[in-house]
């Protein structure tokens, strides 16, 4: 159940985000099932404008990650605030594989390492990132482990055999 303060903050956020990124799709989602209150999805643009808006409202950047959908990447940003009216905002940006997104590290310093991790595992070259190097994998690695075409197994077949 949402409190009055949460409802008010959600409305404000929705309006402000819609104003700053008009091309985005913003919708409320079921917190009990998904764990986030507000879902923001757009294609290619908007990550920096959202980050600035969130920073001005003292939201905390929880994580930055990516999902490989074969034909494109989805960059996922999660924001959460510390004060009484807790709201989690899920920001999804679809980017084509040959057109990397801009960094948000100028707004949140934490993103320097988080985006380095995304680069390390997906090979996404964030534009204007101050320090884009390998972080967990070896410096001389020539692979990006979390891409779907890396280390592909036929496990689905094996499991079905096991269960039958």
């Amino acid at each position: 159940m949402l409190t009055e303060g949460q409802k008010k903050l959600l409305e404000e956020l929705k309006n402000n985000l819609a104003k700053s990124v008009p091309e985005a799709k913003i919708s409320q989602s079921d917190y009990v099932l998904t764990g986030y209150h507000l879902e923001f999805s757009s294609s290619k643009v908007g990550m920096r404008r959202v980050a600035k808006e969130m920073r001005s409202r003292r939201f905390n950047l929880e994580t930055v990650t990516a999902v490989d959908f074969i034909d494109s990447f989805e960059i996922v940003y999660l924001y959460f605030n510390y004060n009484q009216d807790n709201i989690r905002v899920m920001v999804r940006i679809r980017v084509p594989k040959d057109e990397p997104p801009f960094t948000v590290s100028a707004v949140y310093s934490e993103a320097i390492w988080l985006e380095r991790e995304v680069y390390d595992f997906f090979g996404i070259q964030f534009k204007e990132h101050p320090d884009l190097r390998r972080i967990l994998n070896p410096d001389d690695a020539d692979y990006f482990p979390l891409l779907k075409n890396f280390g592909k197994t036929t496990i689905t077949g094996e499991i079905d055999d096991m269960l039958c």
């Binding site: 998904t34 905390n60 929880e62 999660l78 510390y82 310093s109 390492w113 979390l146 890396f150 496990i155």
Partner: protein, 374 residues
């Protein structure tokens, strides 16, 4: 030939680099600091991580949901129970599984016992890092009781595999509750000893007060969470802000300190142990009867979609982000590791401190390296 005096030497010639780690007793595992020093003062600190990277996120994409149970506790081996429970709760959220109340209470009891064990180790390791060996042995003694207690129901001492989708594996009995109560009484007595040994010790005070201050703004900028954030005066705990398991049923406080230095973080951890003991006591007094596991199929198939589940480990806010494509295998599983962000803030606060203070600051932040590397 004229001799060079210290003033003639270019600043760049004076700076030199020091490798602290990856094998070093005070780096809690395999963490590598590359320090640029001017004499004994750190000018720049870089953390090189990844020495224990095992690829848990990739492993998750190659196995069914049930097969990932044991992986979850191996990320943070010091609060494995909390990670294990959190993973189960994330998948339960994705599938919409309702967990029986008794199971949720047992999860709270075991998680809080694990948190006490983890905080004891964190505090004592920190104290040992700056030279006090005796308190470490006392703390280890207390922690051993918890490990023995959890071993009776889980069968393991660190990397627990106890939670199941829809409940827990083994029920707790009267013997367990009695032993836990005895432990709580003993632990409350021990606080006096710890205060005498550590908190009032003049060497400890000189090494920690005013050292490694993390301000509120820096903490927000770097995404710091957990006792480290609460030591900087931000009242944020996932157990209060988004109650999971059944934390909404219990009375407890979130200890915070305004100073943001090593001492504040140490005091917050000690106060959190007291609060955890309170929670365990309440949960055992009100432990409901009933089943310990919901009726869940042997192999679950979550619907397509995604979910994010956040929970509070001993080090901060952990998050599991799971994307499902409607098969038995996760399409993507991302773990938000609190130590990852908590460690990065060191590159901001270390410059200007002595090398010896680095060990104190690092100990007071209390990170686990396998959790950073995943």
């Amino acid at each position: 030939m004229t001799m060079k005096t210290i003033d003639d030497i270019n600043i760049n010639e004076r700076l030199y680099q020091l490798n602290l780690g990856p094998q070093h007793p005070s780096t809690h595992g395999v963490l590598h600091f590359l320090l640029t020093l001017d004499g004994e003062v750190v000018v720049k600190a870089e953390m090189l991580i990844g020495y224990t990277h095992r690829g848990h996120e990739k492993m998750a994409e190659n196995r069914i949901y049930e097969q990932f149970y044991p992986n979850s506790a191996r990320m943070d081996y010091l609060s494995g129970m909390i990670f294990n429970t959190g993973y189960c709760e994330a998948v339960e959220k994705l599938c919409g599984i309702e967990v029986p109340k008794r199971a949720r209470y047992i999860r709270v009891i075991t998680s809080e016992l694990n948190r006490v064990a983890s905080h004891l180790l964190g505090v004592m390791d920190f104290v040992m890092g700056i030279g006090a060996y005796t308190p470490f042995l006392y703390g280890w003694d207390d922690r051993e009781i918890i490990l023995d207690l959890l071993e009776t129901i889980t069968g393991s001492r660190l990397t627990y595999n106890y939670s199941r989708f829809g409940g827990v594996r083994v029920d707790i009995d009267q013997t367990f509750c009695d032993s836990a109560r005895r432990f709580i009484d003993r632990m409350r007595e021990r606080f006096k000893l710890y205060n005498d040994l550590i908190t009032g010790n003049i060497i400890f005070i000189k090494r920690t007060v005013g050292v490694g201050v993390i301000s509120k703004d820096v903490a927000l900028d770097y995404g710091v969470t957990g006792p480290t954030l609460r030591g900087s005066g931000v009242n944020y705990d996932v157990r209060k802000s988004e109650p999971y398991s059944s934390y909404e049923d219990f009375n407890f406080e979130i200890p915070t300190k305004e100073e943001g230095d090593c001492m504040a973080r140490y005091l917050v951890r000690l106060a959190e142990i007291e609060q955890s003991l309170r929670i365990i006591e309440q949960a055992m007094n009100n432990l409901p009867d009933g089943p310990i596991r919901a009726d869940v199929p042997c192999f679950i198939t979550p619907p397509a979609g995604d979910c994010y589940h956040s929970f509070e480990s001993a080090r901060g806010a952990v998050g599991y982000y799971i994307v499902s494509d409607g098969t038995r295998i996760p399409y993507r599983l991302k773990v938000r590791a609190p130590s990852f962000s908590n460690l990065f803030v060191m590159s901001k606060i270390i410059p200007g401190h002595f090398v010896a203070d680095l060990v104190a600051i690092f100990g007071s932040i209390d990170v686990t390296v396998p959790e950073i590397d995943r």
